[in-house]
Symmetry: C3
Subunit: 398 residues, 3 copies
Amino acid sequence: MDNARIKSLIQQLAQLNYQDMYLNDFLLTWEKSDQEVQATFLVADILRGLRQRNISTRLFDSGLGISLFRDQSTRTRFSYASACNQLGLTMQDLDEGKSQVAHGETVRETANMVSFMADVIGIRDDMYIGKGNAYMREVSEAVQQGYLEGVLEQRPTLVNLQCDIDHPTQSMADMLHLINHFGGVENLKGKKLAMTWAYSPSYGKPLSVPQGVIGLMTRFGMEVSLAHPEGYEVMPEVEAIATKNAAAGGGKFSKTNSMEEAFAGADIVYPKSWAPFSAMESRTQLYGDGDFDGIDALEKELLGQNAQHKNWQCTESLMSTTHEGEALYMHCLPADITGVSCKEGEVEASVFDRYRKPMYMEASYKPYIIAAMIMLAKAKYPADTLESMLTADIARIR
Amino acid sequence: MDNARIKSLIQQLAQLNYQDMYLNDFLLTWEKSDQEVQATFLVADILRGLRQRNISTRLFDSGLGISLFRDQSTRTRFSYASACNQLGLTMQDLDEGKSQVAHGETVRETANMVSFMADVIGIRDDMYIGKGNAYMREVSEAVQQGYLEGVLEQRPTLVNLQCDIDHPTQSMADMLHLINHFGGVENLKGKKLAMTWAYSPSYGKPLSVPQGVIGLMTRFGMEVSLAHPEGYEVMPEVEAIATKNAAAGGGKFSKTNSMEEAFAGADIVYPKSWAPFSAMESRTQLYGDGDFDGIDALEKELLGQNAQHKNWQCTESLMSTTHEGEALYMHCLPADITGVSCKEGEVEASVFDRYRKPMYMEASYKPYIIAAMIMLAKAKYPADTLESMLTADIARIR
Amino acid sequence: MDNARIKSLIQQLAQLNYQDMYLNDFLLTWEKSDQEVQATFLVADILRGLRQRNISTRLFDSGLGISLFRDQSTRTRFSYASACNQLGLTMQDLDEGKSQVAHGETVRETANMVSFMADVIGIRDDMYIGKGNAYMREVSEAVQQGYLEGVLEQRPTLVNLQCDIDHPTQSMADMLHLINHFGGVENLKGKKLAMTWAYSPSYGKPLSVPQGVIGLMTRFGMEVSLAHPEGYEVMPEVEAIATKNAAAGGGKFSKTNSMEEAFAGADIVYPKSWAPFSAMESRTQLYGDGDFDGIDALEKELLGQNAQHKNWQCTESLMSTTHEGEALYMHCLPADITGVSCKEGEVEASVFDRYRKPMYMEASYKPYIIAAMIMLAKAKYPADTLESMLTADIARIR
């Protein structure tokens, strides 16, 4: 990206209204205005451009980015670590026991105790329906209070690295990939996107990816179709948001129980496994009750249920039914690839292979999206700061 | 904190004699002169003031702060990580097996092998009576020798993050909290502080907090009372230090076996559980012998012994007997709160709740205290360096 | 080291041809030209000199150094963390399961997913014959492709932190120690170095140290003798390299089955245990087959085989047969010391003790060697950059 292009993006950014993001959290994309979402994309692209030009983007001279992962993660952890690093923050892990679901006072105390030098807290808590996002809000309130009381010198910003409801860093990275892949958001109007369930031999994948996708992609005039077998419904609240978004943005949101229907003529396909919402609810209940026999029984039941839908696979044959047979295939990775990572899975190996490059590119936006979320929350005048970074031209590698 | 106030604190600092702290360790508060202790408080307050004003306090352009925790810790680990971060150091964990108590040659070798870029080594080793502080001194001698022999380009400073004898980062943070809470150290003269044992359903809490408190708080003209049931004595050497300090500083140090007596008229109360010194000695012996049956038996015995003193609880009723019924309640956290974190514990929930804000503030001093200890050991002219930080006014967040 | 000496080293560096190291990996010493090896030593010495003078050597304003250790490590991990830190990188661990040997697609995907901000990837994978180095090359190709495709903004450099074939950071540190200990590489011509097997009560130590030593030390005109009991052969390919090196550099490479013969008149001795190559091959096969009974049986067999060679110990008596009875004793640490860390081991305690200082010095070169490898791969004009660091004279500790 050349200097002129970066300058132009900064100028676009300067026109937008995103002042409410300052000192605020990023928890759900649908809590952010269109201009705020657009500002996030712009800052991500600008940060990427600056890095390509070996220009330092250290917003922070020092500071910590706390990471709190309640589920194992390599990709998101590295994306978060990368985002922190490019802004000058050091990532510091808070390892709470995975199974331990903290409540009330404990959350308040821990949140303050780890935040003395914390500028950001990134949380991944996607395993329990009704808990993950709620937990983030508890942490947010706790640090807000700590800041107001003078306990904390700065108010750490929360970034949702995946919860039970949304996965904003994923869906925003996916969307920025679409924008750049199709040469601009204006080119996405009327494009058909199929967010479809796909078979996986594993159990209990979170719903936050499909929910995040339908909650965000419906804002840009696309025709978003959500496809899954009966029984694999997502949260109705999120479907309502998708419907509302589509209406407001001139797009469409539809549902179907046929993968074929969703793929037919699609410009973009996103086939991915997830667990049924109601099963995730039961699971949360069983964990709460400590009923481990019940959990085992549920797992068997769910795997059996999945196995009835092995035909929900992204095959070459299905791909040939998409727009000109060349729909853009997307995945949040890692995928269950038939004959590679499992016997039967979400996608045929040849399809996956053909789309490796765009998929890696899709993933590559996540660190910049996270960094943009942080920057918009912590820099008082982001456009000015980015402008001064460009002008100062401090080499990242000397 | 405004500029003028920061300048005034730097001027006060410049008058003090703390040159022996340079390239030295911070292991026990009573090894430090009054002026050295005062300098530590001043540097901590200055660093806090600079952070409030968004002024960078990076003493180091690069460097490592090694952390060696032989006991689990979230609070102290984050305080140490925060202290390192605000000075520009990166924390690097050295995970030795918890149970492994290294000796002699191994200590010397490991200490050198991890210190090639180490400016600080923070150690927490509080589980074994007679071992923790001794281990720190072995490490200190090893790196001193490595430095003199040219193996190490810099001599890492040791910071005691809790040992069997003292918990200087805690007691110093507690004391700075008192100083600021009461509006200056001069206002503490004659104040009554009750450091009392309290009941906990858990076993084997270290003695370093009560020992650290009586070893430090007796230096400022306060009347410090140590209260515990018979059998819960702390180390006699530390009591001797408390007595000596009180005599030198115009305060008092007394002991009682009555919580009521200690609370009566107290200005400050610090009710907290700890294990009997003699039991900790037996435990160390049993671990040394690998006698795990003996350890189990001891644990049962100690829990039984604790349970005889459930009435040692900080209740509303006891609080009402303190000075104007409004003594400042202190705790190093986490506390065992009756009906919250346990059935019966150290403190009634309503008392704890009422003092949450000052307790969080108490905890908030620890990162600054640790940073001050590091700075006084690593900066040759700390007052000048702080002055130049204030003047340079480099933004921590751009 | 004074300014003039540092300048002189930078001038020497400027004369050498090392441009192929730029954006390249460091996997095997024998893939590097003599001038490239010499450049690495020079940069290491210059970085050490700058640090001694408290001059910042931050090549990077931000960036990550990924560490991927497939075997436990304290020393190498801290050396790598130190190297990263002194150049301004933050180390980020990638914890894959130890036993998991990733293949093909997984390697490619993971390598890209962790490299969005990665400037370096340090890998230790020494447990499986035929796998470790091969794995590194897979990662290297994956990130090269990711870089060319625009997924990665920078091409991370790989540093071999120990594989099945070579341990270049160790052998290079060892060699730099020899150069400085003997007052210059020219003084090493004709010196006798004995790389000998020694008895250890433990099992399956990697061959990369002896292989690394004979593969590197034969390049400097030394007479290198490899001694081991029958059955403890190293990889024939590496022996062939040693032979070729010796021929090219005017030195000698010989083999013997007698420790006495190797020690007689030696100027330098490096007695160290390793596993037989063929046993390591069987082990790799057994792991591949998941034959854990076979692995247990092999372990017993190897320990029994080792025990037949307890007389392969570096004793005072053997040391007295070396040149003037004063050969330089070397070890990569930790050593199995008779009567200290084990009943019978590689070396007598009095020998080990006498050489502690030079051994620690030997170890102290590793962080600088790693940093030099990184710098030569990431700085476009290393001599100019070092010169400008010297001139800028930015204090590491203010």
